[in-house]
């Protein structure tokens, strides 16, 4: 009789322990689950124009009329810029090269931007593989020399694009020569909403290294940064 009572108490105790464990594990397991998820930050594609700042190597010549002409080769944007009503500004600078010897007596070349001049794109000519672009300068700094190479910085704002996302969102699959982004798929789950990843192929039509414009809508929630390597179907936590 006494043994039976002890066993009954043990059984009740075990049930109580199980309930306590269940309560504790419910909270801790949810915490663990959330902690183990890869944390991602998301962005939405925006309708905006991308600012460009491209650098080219230009050559200084003097044309028949005695004008100073800086010419350089561009393989993108040149035609678009030429067709615009407003002029596109360019900064032209000479490059001062400095030769130094390092501790191992190896020659090291460093350069710095010298004197600059501002002008506008005046001429765009179709050539094989791109465009030959030129700007004419009335005067040039005294240090500039004919046939020398100059740094041409073209600054312009691209046309408005509907789906612009940070360039870091776009992943390049070298094997299939395809660019893609990851977007999140929302799924209602027992504890709330679960987010899984879906790969969406994109066609980048314009980029400045910081932002990329893609042709079609990749979705609303695009992954920009993640705490781990991503893969399709992965469950993530949005931060």
């Amino acid at each position: 009789m006494k043994g039976k009572k002890i066993i009954a108490r043990i059984e009740v105790g075990l049930l109580a322990i199980f309930i306590i464990v269940a309560i504790t594990f419910t909270f801790l397991s949810q915490k663990n689950y959330e902690n183990n998820l890869t944390k991602v930050s998301i962005v939405e594609p925006t309708d905006m124009s991308i600012d460009h700042e491209a650098e080219y190597a230009g050559n200084l010549t003097i044309d028949i009329g005695g004008k100073y002409k800086i010419g350089w080769f561009m393989n993108d944007y040149a035609k678009e810029l030429d067709q615009r009503e407003q002029l596109t500004q360019v900064d032209v600078s000479n490059i001062v090269l400095t030769y130094k010897q390092d501790v191992n007596e190896k020659e090291k070349v460093s350069y710095k931007i010298g004197e600059s001049s501002t002008a506008y794109i005046d001429e765009v000519v179709d050539v094989e593989g791109g465009y030959q672009v030129a700007t004419y300068l009335g005067e040039i700094p005294a240090s500039w020399k004919k046939d020398a190479t100059y740094l041409v910085t073209v600054k312009f704002t691209g046309n408005r694009k509907k789906y612009v996302i940070p360039a870091s969102c776009v992943v390049y699959d070298k094997q299939n020569d395809q660019r893609y982004v990851y977007k999140t798929i929302e799924e209602p789950k027992i504890w709330g909403t679960e987010y899984s990843l879906k790969k969406v192929n994109v066609n980048v039509i314009e980029s400045n290294g910081e932002y990329s414009a893609v042709e079609n809508s990749p979705g609303d929630h695009i992954i920009e940064n993640a705490s781990n390597e991503l893969y399709e179907g992965m469950l993530v936590k949005i931060e």
């Binding site: 419910t26 689950y33 504890w191």
Partner: protein
């Protein structure tokens, strides 16, 4: 001498009969324990071993793989438990769903059954025996038969896909009322009459005199009810569209679709509370079943 031989022959017969009964019982025990052992040991296998062992069973149509059946795991591991109970919270969510259904149903059933049983046992009202017979008849009907009518009623009153669709129909169990009725029939009417003479009302008589005497009946009803509700499957599947409202019993099929290890662990953990409840209340339960069949 003749008598002694007769007694000897009778004893021999009895021994043989007992041996046969024991043999059948042992076989049945082995058959039952085998499945429990299969479930328990499977939960301690790692994923690789589970796939090697039950790969074909899980993938059904993958006939290139064969199940290399063995019960004891090569390496005992708690990884499956860690994965199901510690790293994700799905299991616990459904566990609390089950609790959410079990506790109100238990409480409601006890209240309704006690009141119903008291009325049938101690009140005189027209067609009392007829209504009791109806109760017994309803008790005999398999509850699966009642599913469709219940579904129609719940749909008409707008309770489909709510937790009430599970709780409300389960509060009214003819078996519970009948069980308590059987226990209450054993209480002497004279005691109740004496209490009435002393000025006690029906509620007071029920609470102070009747209930203490039917504690065992209530306990057995509680144990049977907990086990019954904990194992509920058909009603949630039929009455709930939102799977997140499923109790653990109905959600086990969801865990089975994840991976074999998860299914084993969920199966074992699902059994733990109900086995403990059974162990705690097995004596009451046996008494209750005995009473409901033969009366007090």
């Amino acid at each position: 001498m003749k008598d002694a031989r007769k007694i000897g022959s009778m004893r021999k017969k009895e021994h043989t009969r007992n041996a046969v009964i024991y043999a059948v019982m042992v076989l049945m025990t082995i058959a039952t324990v085998f499945f429990l052992a299969f479930l328990l040991f499977g939960s301690f296998m790692n994923n690789g071993e589970l796939n090697d062992t039950y790969g074909m069973i899980k993938d059904g149509n993958n006939m290139m793989a064969y199940a290399s059946f063995h019960i004891l795991p090569d390496h005992f591991t708690f990884t499956q438990y860690k994965k199901v109970l510690w790293e994700t919270s799905d299991f616990w969510f459904y566990f609390w769903n089950s609790m959410f259904y079990t506790l109100p149903i238990l409480l409601g059933t006890i209240i309704i059954s006690v009141m119903g049983g008291y009325a049938f046992a101690k009140f005189q009202f027209p067609f009392r025996k007829f209504w009791l017979a109806i109760y017994i008849i309803v008790m005999m009907i398999p509850y699966q038969v009642m599913l469709s009518p219940t579904l129609i009623v719940l749909n008409n009153i707008g309770l489909i896909n709510t937790r009430s669709a599970i709780i409300l129909p389960n509060l009214f169990t003819p078996f519970g009322t009948y069980l308590i009725y059987q226990f209450m029939c054993g209480i002497s009417d004279d005691t109740l009459e004496a209490a009435k003479v002393d000025g006690a009302g029906n509620i007071r008589i029920l609470l102070k005199i009747v209930l203490p005497q039917v504690k065992a009946g209530i306990a057995s009803l509680a144990v049977l009810n907990i086990i019954d509700t904990w194992n509920i499957v058909e009603q949630p599947v039929m009455f709930l569209k939102n799977e997140f409202m499923y109790p653990l019993s109905a959600a086990l099929s969801y865990f089975q679709t994840q991976d074999t290890g998860t299914a084993f662990v969920c199966g074992v953990t699902f059994l733990v509370p109900v086995v403990l409840v059974f162990l705690i209340g097995k004596d009451y339960m046996i008494e209750g079943i005995k009473n409901s069949v033969v009366g007090k």
